[in-house]
C-alpha cells in the first residue's frame, strides 16, 4: 500500500502568508504538495467552524496562517484569530480530535522558507497521526 498522503487545507491571509507562499514558489523552495490553499483576506475572517467543516468534508488537517502579531493589515485580525483558534484547538482536543489537525502559523510575505518549513512540519505530523475518517460526512 502506498504511503498515506494527507489532505491539508491551508487558509492563508491575503497580505502575509499568501504572499509568503508565493515567495516560496518563486524562490523554488520545495515543500510537500499536500496543502490546498484557500486565500482569505485575514485570519480574523476565519470562522472557527470552517475548520470543522473542512475536517468533515475530507481534510485530514487544517492550517491557518496569517501575519505576525502586530503586523496585521487590519491591525488586530490575527490577535482575534489567535484567541479563537486557541479555544477551538482545545475544544477539538477535548472531544478527541487530535489538536495537531488544526495548526496555526505566522508567516510574513518575506518568509518563503518558513512557509515551506511550516507545511513540511504540518504534513509530517499529520502523516504520523494518520487519516481523519471518524466523522467525515457520509460519502454519498
Amino acid at each position: 500500500m502506498s504511503e498515506f498522503e494527507p489532505n491539508i487545507v491551508a487558509f492563508l491571509c491575503n497580505w502575509c502568508s499568501y504572499a509568503g507562499a508565493d515567495l516560496t514558489g518563486t524562490s523554488r523552495i520545495h515543500y510537500p504538495p499536500n496543502v490546498k490553499v484557500i486565500r482569505v483576506m485575514c485570519t480574523g475572517r476565519m470562522n472557527p467552524l470552517f475548520v470543522v467543516q473542512a475536517l468533515r468534508q475530507g481534510a485530514d488537517g487544517v492550517l491557518i496562517s496569517g501575519c505576525h502579531p502586530g503586523e496585521c493589515h487590519y491591525l488586530k485580525g490575527n490577535y482575534l484569530a489567535r484567541r479563537r483558534f486557541m479555544l477551538m484547538r482545545n475544544l477539538l482536543g477535548f472531544i478527541g480530535i487530535n489538536p495537531l489537525r488544526l495548526r496555526m502559523s505566522w508567516v510574513s510575505a518575506s518568509e518563503g522558507k518558513k512557509f515551506a518549513d511550516v507545511v513540511t512540519t504540518v504534513t509530517e505530523d499529520i502523516k504520523k497521526i494518520g487519516p481523519q475518517q471518524s466523522f467525515t460526512r457520509e460519502a454519498v
Binding site: 467543516q53 468533515r56 486557541m86 479555544l87 475544544l91 495548526r103 471518524s134 466523522f135
Partner: protein, 325 residues
C-alpha cells in the same frame, strides 16, 4: 427561603405602573414539575412559588420571538418585564445586557439567592411515576419531600443538580430587589474536565461520537439556553447551510461543536441545555471545558457584570501563542 417575601416583592413589582407582567414559577401539572408562569395581576401572585424544584431558568423567555408581549390590556404600554432571577439567571441577564441583547430598562429583576435546585431526573428516578403534586423543602442539608400524605427525607447532595454543585455565583449579581439572605458559594471544580483530558484521544472521540449519534436534533438545548437568542440561528439557515438536516454523527458533531463554541465565553453554567436534552447528552461538559479555558487563558468569566466585553471580541497582545508555528 421565605416564599412570602418573594410574593410580596412580586406583587409590589406588579403594582408598579411600568411593569407589564412578571415571569415566575407556579406548581407544575403533575408530580415534581414546576412550571414557568406569567403573572399579570397582584391577585395571581398567590400562585407564585419558589422551591428547590424550580430548576427551569426563566431568562430564555426574555429573548423569545415576541419578547412576550402577552395581551395585557391597559398594561400593554408598560415597558418592563419583571422576573425572578437566581444567581445563574442573573449572570445570563448580565451577559445578554453586555451583548446589548435587551436594554436594561426593559427589566425589573427580583433577585433570589439560591441554595441550589433539584435535578428532576434524579428525583424522578428516586420516586418514579409520581403523578400527584409533590412538594419539596430544604432543611439542614436534607430535602423533605412530601408526596400526597407521605413524607420522605433525602440528603441534599443526592438530588442536587450537577450544575449547582459547582456554582460559584448562587447570589444574584444584578437585580432591582433582592429577597432573602446571601448564600455561600461553592468552589469551582474542574476535576471532571482535567481528568477527562487525561484519557486517550481515541477514547474521548469514541465517547463523543457515541453521544452525538444519539442526538435527535430537536434543538431543545438551544431553545432552553438563555444565551442562544440569535434572531436567525445558523442551524435554521438554508443558504449557506452549515449543518444539514440529516441526522448522522457527522452533522450532529458539527451542530454540537457550533453550539458549544458559540457559547465560548458566554455560557453562564446554568445547566439548562443538559437539563432540556431528552437524550441525556452531557452538553455541560463541553461548555465547562470552554468556560475553564476562557477563565484560564483570558481570565474572563461570563455574566459577571453588564459591561465587560466578550473575550472573543477583545485580545491581549501578550495572549499565549505557544501553539503557533
Amino acid at each position: 427561603m421565605n416564599i412570602q417575601k418573594i410574593r410580596d416583592e412580586a406583587s409590589r413589582a406588579l403594582g408598579r405602573k411600568d411593569v407589564k407582567y412578571l415571569i415566575g414559577y407556579q406548581k407544575g401539572s403533575y408530580g415534581f414539575r414546576v412550571s414557568p408562569a406569567f403573572f399579570q395581576t397582584k391577585e395571581e401572585v398567590e400562585r407564585l412559588i419558589f422551591s428547590p424544584l424550580c430548576q427551569v431558568s426563566l431568562a430564555p423567555y426574555l429573548t423569545l420571538e415576541e419578547v412576550v408581549p402577552l395581551p395585557g390590556e391597559e398594561k400593554q404600554k408598560a415597558s418592563k418585564v419583571a422576573l425572578l432571577a437566581r444567581g445563574c439567571d442573573s449572570r445570563a441577564i448580565n451577559q445578554i445586557l453586555a451583548e446589548k441583547g435587551i436594554p436594561r430598562d426593559r427589566l425589573f429583576i427580583i433577585g433570589i439567592p439560591c441554595e441550589g435546585v433539584i435535578d428532576r431526573r434524579k428525583i424522578e428516578a428516586r420516586f418514579p411515576s409520581v403523578t400527584e403534586p409533590a412538594e419539596v423543602r430544604e432543611e439542614n442539608g436534607k430535602y423533605i419531600i412530601a408526596i400526597g400524605d407521605q413524607s420522605h427525607e433525602v440528603p441534599k447532595e443526592e438530588l442536587l443538580a450537577d450544575a449547582c454543585k459547582v456554582c460559584r455565583y448562587p447570589n444574584p449579581l444584578i437585580y432591582d430587589k433582592l429577597t432573602g439572605d446571601k448564600v455561600a458559594p461553592h468552589q469551582a471544580n474542574y476535576d471532571d474536565i482535567t481528568s477527562w483530558e487525561e484519557k486517550p484521544l481515541e477514547e474521548r472521540l469514541q465517547f463523543w461520537l457515541d453521544q452525538f449519534s444519539r442526538c435527535i436534533r430537536c434543538y431543545a438545548c438551544r431553545n432552553a439556553c438563555p444565551l442562544c437568542y440569535s434572531t436567525v440561528c445558523i442551524l435554521d439557515r438554508l443558504d449557506p447551510q452549515w449543518v444539514k438536516r440529516s441526522n448522522d454523527t457527522s452533522e450532529n458533531l458539527m451542530f454540537h461543536v457550533s453550539r458549544a463554541f458559540h457559547l465560548a465565553g458566554r455560557c453562564v453554567s446554568c445547566g439548562e441545555c443538559e437539563r432540556a436534552c431528552p437524550m441525556g447528552i452531557p452538553l455541560m461538559k463541553l461548555n465547562r471545558k470552554l468556560e475553564k479555558d476562557v477563565n484560564d487563558l483570558f481570565s474572563y468569566e461570563a455574566g459577571k457584570d453588564a459591561e465587560s466585553k466578550s473575550p472573543m471580541t477583545t485580545f491581549h497582545v501578550e495572549d499565549r501563542e505557544d501553539f503557533i508555528l
